[in-house]
């Protein structure tokens, strides 16, 4: 793992990639415990989903456990499509056994006997090595007396398939389009059966918490953002890479460590996240009380045109919207056309206000998180870098 500079104020940890324990013994140990005890441990730990939405993991497992029926699934969301995020890839390369054990733990706790890894299409190169590990794991589960089996499904290459209900549709062989919610996957997911969808990283932490205890995890981070998390650092930085850091840091401390001395903005949370300008670095907390992130931290220095940054994001959304719902499908195109028209002086600068309104309608009325979050980057870039957008 990459290391920080000596004078960093950030607290780097090594929970995920630390090798002090044999994964199977962690699992074996956890299987000795009562299911509710593990759920309570997770709830107390304050672990929230690491895939972006931040739903409390213990609660999700609790709902899945109490969902009726004996056919349940646990799905590992390894679609990792958010621009600037590559931490799940590193986990799967270096600590896949912990992901698989975390899934088995979820299976044990909730009664799911089937675990599915939904692997991003672009990661197909690691499929074979993962399959070998899965074979070993499946054998190990048997030896542990655990009725649980793992398999891999390949993603179809669309960003929206990372959205949990689109992912489920895609696994069912349909178009990867988000479903209406409710019902949520814990009630009706894959094949209409209760399904837990968790991010790769979340599953590893769940396993670790069952071993370390809630308190040890919650000793890191803040009240709302307990623990540590992996960050994918990219953009104008001399230290691009994946780092495990304590949550709740100030963005200014982060930039002090990772910036190139000329950072004018950081995009926190990828294309669907927020852009924070330099003047706000000091007052921005990275975590659920401030700006949450699924891990993507992209730094921009003063050579970057924020118009181009925004243009890129919008092009991405115009293409990656699944297209089923009108606010998102048409809204993305209107935002892109709109900033182009303003740049080309075909629309007055005041048209930005209309566009911000459209972005807000997308936030309020789109069917899924994709359309709902296009306004995050849009508003924050347009508001903070208005001149760059207009002139």
């Amino acid at each position: 793992m990459e290391t920080l500079t000596n004078n960093s104020t950030l607290r780097k940890t090594d929970l995920i990639f630390g090798r002090e324990h044999d994964t199977l013994s962690l699992l074996k140990e956890a299987l000795q415990r009562e299911k509710d005890e593990i759920i309570n441990e997770l709830i107390e730990s304050g672990l929230r989903g690491r895939g972006g939405a931040g739903f409390p993991t213990g609660l999700k497992w609790k709902f899945a456990k109490s969902a009726p029926g004996n056919e349940k699934y646990i799905v590992c969301n390894a679609d990792e499509g958010e621009p600037g995020t590559f931490k799940d890839r590193i986990i799967l390369e270096k600590a896949a056994d912990k992901v698989f054990a975390g899934m088995a733990l979820g299976g044990y706790v909730t009664g799911a006997r089937h675990g599915i890894i939904y692997l991003r299409g672009e990661y197909s190169w690691m499929r074979n090595s993962l399959l070998l590990k899965i074979d070993d794991m499946n054998t190990a589960f048997k030896q542990l007396g655990l009725d649980f089996i793992l398999e891999i499904r390949m993603g179809s290459g669309a960003y929206v398939c990372g959205e949990e209900t689109a992912l489920i549709e895609s696994m069912e062989g349909k178009r990867g389009e988000p479903r209406n919610k409710p019902p949520f996957p814990v009630a009706k997911g894959f094949n209409n059966k209760p399904t837990i969808v968790n991010n790769v990283e979340t599953l590893v932490y769940a396993l670790l918490i069952s071993h370390l205890g809630a308190a040890a995890f919650a000793a890191f981070g803040t009240e709302q953002s307990a623990g540590t998390k992996l960050f994918s650092v990219s953009g104008d930085t001399p230290q691009a890479g994946v780092y495990e850091l304590e949550l709740g840091m100030k963005l200014s401390d982060f930039v002090a460590e990772f910036g190139d001395g000329d950072t004018k903005a950081v995009q926190v949370g990828g294309a669907s996240g927020f852009c924070v300008p330099r003047r706000k670095f000091d007052q921005t907390i990275i975590g659920f009380e401030g700006i949450p992130t699924g891990g993507s931290m992209m730094l921009f220095n003063s050579h970057r045109s924020m118009y181009h940054v925004l243009h890129n994001y919008l092009e991405f959304f115009v293409e990656e919207s699944c297209g089923q719902c009108s606010p998102c499908r048409v809204g993305c195109q209107q935002l892109l056309l709109g900033i182009e028209a303003i740049k080309a002086r075909k629309k007055p600068a005041s048209y930005l206000k209309e566009l911000i309104r459209i972005a807000d309608t997308m936030r309020l009325a789109s069917k899924c998180g994709l359309g709902q979050s296009v306004g995050n980057a849009f508003d924050s870039i347009v508001e903070e870098f208005k001149e760059e957008i207009i002139y």
Binding site: A158, V160, R175, E177, N180, P182, F317, V318, E319, E320, S321, C322, G323, Q324, C325, S326, P327, R329, V330, G331, C332, Q333, Q334, L337, G338, A341, K347, Y351, E354, R357, I358, T361, R363, L364, A365, S366, K367, Q372
Partner: protein, 595 residues
């Protein structure tokens, strides 16, 4: 199920659990605009026009998709809702070629209606560049597809897969490229489309419309050298009124005839005549097949026999179950029997040159347009049916001509080929062909009327997707002794998804029917793709009641009693399945791959 209590715009509502916010609003008398929602189809929740505000929720909720929950406080007109609703409509309009005055659906478009209600002033948004290079798919005989009018509500997609088990229309691509495409982006004429027009019937805009022949028919009517005959299908008379301001279920037979005369048709005749004829031919065909199989041990004659009146069903079976084509009755549909006779029997009787006859039909159906275009349908030596109009097109023509429809005095059909029985009119409802066939066949075999009160064969009626019945045959006449004690097993299916189920059961040997009636459209022809919009289960129920009322009011209710039928056999056809019949009234089917 227990009830849920919530408030909508502060009005308390109580409704069963599992219902949606939209259902609850309807119950409270509050209307919420919708586009992708359709009562016949599964929930999509994709247009988002129906969003409402739920107290405490971060986002607005699609009222068509979100189930009610206890204590919900909903607002359907908050500032947020009003703004979002208008924005969404403006977004849809920016993606839509709003060429309203030139559009076939002008004034009958749900998007236009909502725009008038909620947008009503010009939008700042930029029309999407894709609208500058659109193309219209006019390859099909029945359906015109114009993507530039499409709002991606996917009603057509759901109709085609859910109701019709076809999926000729599907969603393709994502993002800005997303669109509704005929399979693999082929022209509509080259995909497994049955032309049933159920998609047309549910399209809220002008994206899917029928190929219309209004201009051609008007032209023929104005041509002094042409003798223009028109036939009207059973289900037109009970639905035409809906397109002219009447409530669903109002019968307008006499007014329709009067209007057609005012429009200038030289003879207003009735498809019901050939529906009666179909019973004679198809009934005889069924009995012949039964005899061959049961008595002669013939393995060539295929049972179960299926009906052949519905051209959507014919194309479906040609594509999907070609191994069962020998099972399909060889009878042409009543429309095509009529067409073949119009330019032969009718021409002779009326001393007309068939070359000068223009044969028009008014049908509840879009697939009839395709059927009339089939190369087999020229047995008179001409195109048997020149132009097929839908019920909707006729309503338009009546409006165009300035006819005050509601004030018209009832007129009767012309003769010949204008007399019919109650057995013919029920062809328009699912189960009707079966009922009509049983009324006649049972009597031929036993010399007695079917053992049902007032000839109403209740097991054949209703809206259940698949219905089965068994009739025990007792007291046979001498010729039919071989059927004594036999139990005739029949099945009825409407909507092609149900037809698929029945055929699959037959294919897998799970069913031992003798006779199967299939209508491609939900409810039968009364729910046809050419009928007035909108459609729903309630509307179709009303139309069905009208059909049975029409039957009950007819002096003659069995096809074999129709005096014009007796006359045509006497003068022209000789006997059912006779030489002339074979030539004019029967046809062949082809196995189809893609078109």
């Amino acid at each position: 199920m227990q009830n849920i209590r919530l408030t909508i715009n502060s009005i308390p509502v109580e409704i069963e659990a599992g219902k949606t916010i939209l259902d609850a609003a309807k119950k409270a008398g509050i209307s919420i605009p919708t586009l992708c929602h359709h009562p016949d189809l599964c929930v999509a929740g994709n247009c988002r026009v129906c969003v409402v505000e739920q107290l405490g929720a971060r986002t607005l909720q699609a009222s068509c998709a979100v189930p009610v929950s206890e204590g919900m406080e909903i607002s359907t007109n908050s500032a947020k809702v009003q703004r979002a609703r208008r924005d969404i409509l403006e977004l849809l309009l920016s993606e839509h070629r709003s060429d309203c005055v030139n559009c076939y659906k002008n004034n009958q478009c749900e998007l236009q209606e909502l725009a008038a209600k909620y947008v009503f002033s010009s939008s700042e948004l930029i029309p999407l560049p894709a609208l500058q290079h659109y193309s219209i798919d006019a390859s099909s005989s029945s359906i015109i597809k114009d993507d530039s009018k499409c709002i991606r509500c996917q009603r057509c997609v759901r109709t085609c897969s859910q109701l019709q088990h076809i999926s000729a229309l599907a969603v393709a691509n994502k993002g800005s490229e997303q669109k509704i495409s005929a399979f693999m982006d082929k022209p509509m004429a080259n995909v497994v489309c049955t032309n049933c027009g159920q998609c047309v019937n549910r399209c809220p805009t002008g994206a899917l419309t029928e190929r219309n022949y209004i201009t051609e028919v008007m032209h023929a009517l104005h041509d002094k050298n042409k003798h223009v005959v028109v036939q009207t299908a059973p289900a037109v008379r009970i639905a035409l009124g809906e397109g002219l301001g009447f409530a669903p279920g109002e019968r307008v037979t006499g007014k329709m005839v009067a209007a057609l005369k005012q429009l200038g048709f030289d003879a207003v005749l009735d498809t019901d005549f050939t529906a009666d004829l179909t019973i004679m031919e198809e009934g005889t065909e069924l009995l012949t097949r039964l005899k061959k199989v049961l008595v002669d041990g013939d393995t060539q004659s295929a049972l179960p026999m299926t009906t052949s009146c519905s051209p959507g069903w014919i194309k479906f079976i040609e594509h999907k179950f070609p191994e069962f084509l020998p099972n399909v009755s060889t009878c042409k549909s009543p429309q095509q029997m009529f067409g073949a006779l119009a330019k032969t029997y009718y021409a002779q009787k009326r001393k007309l040159d068939p070359a000068n006859i223009v044969s028009v039909s008014v049908m509840p159906c879009t697939a009839k347009k395709y059927e009339a275009d089939r190369p087999e349908m020229r047995d008179s030596g001409f195109k048997d049916v020149d132009y097929v109009l839908t019920t909707r097109e006729l309503a338009r023509m009546i409006k165009m001509a300035g006819i005050d429809f509601s004030a018209l005095a009832d007129l009767s059909y012309d003769s010949i080929m204008g007399t019919s029985t109650g057995a013919a009119v029920i062809f328009g409802a699912t189960g009707g062909v079966m009922e009509a066939a049983l009324r006649t066949a049972y009597e031929i075999i036993t010399g007695r009327e079917v053992p049902f009160e007032n000839l109403n064969i209740q097991p054949a009626r209703g809206m259940e997707g698949v219905r089965e019945a068994a009739v025990k045959i007792e007291g046979c006449e001498d010729n039919w002794k071989f059927l004594e004690g036999a139990v005739l097993k029949v099945a009825i299916a409407h909507g092609l998804t149900n037809a698929y189920k029945v055929m699959q059961a037959v294919k897998e040997g799970r069913a031992d029917y003798h006779f199967i009636e299939v209508m491609a459209c939900p409810g039968g022809c009364l729910g046809g793709g050419g009928q007035p919009m909108p459609t729903s289960a309630e509307i179709r129920q009303k139309r069905a009641e009208a059909i049975y009322a029409e039957d009950a009011g007819m002096p003659l209710r069995k096809s074999h009693q129709n005096p014009e039928i007796l006359a045509i056999y006497d003068e022209f056809l000789e006997k059912p399945l006779g030489h002339q019949s074979h030539k004019l009234l029967h046809t062949v089917y082809v196995e189809r791959d893609w078109n």
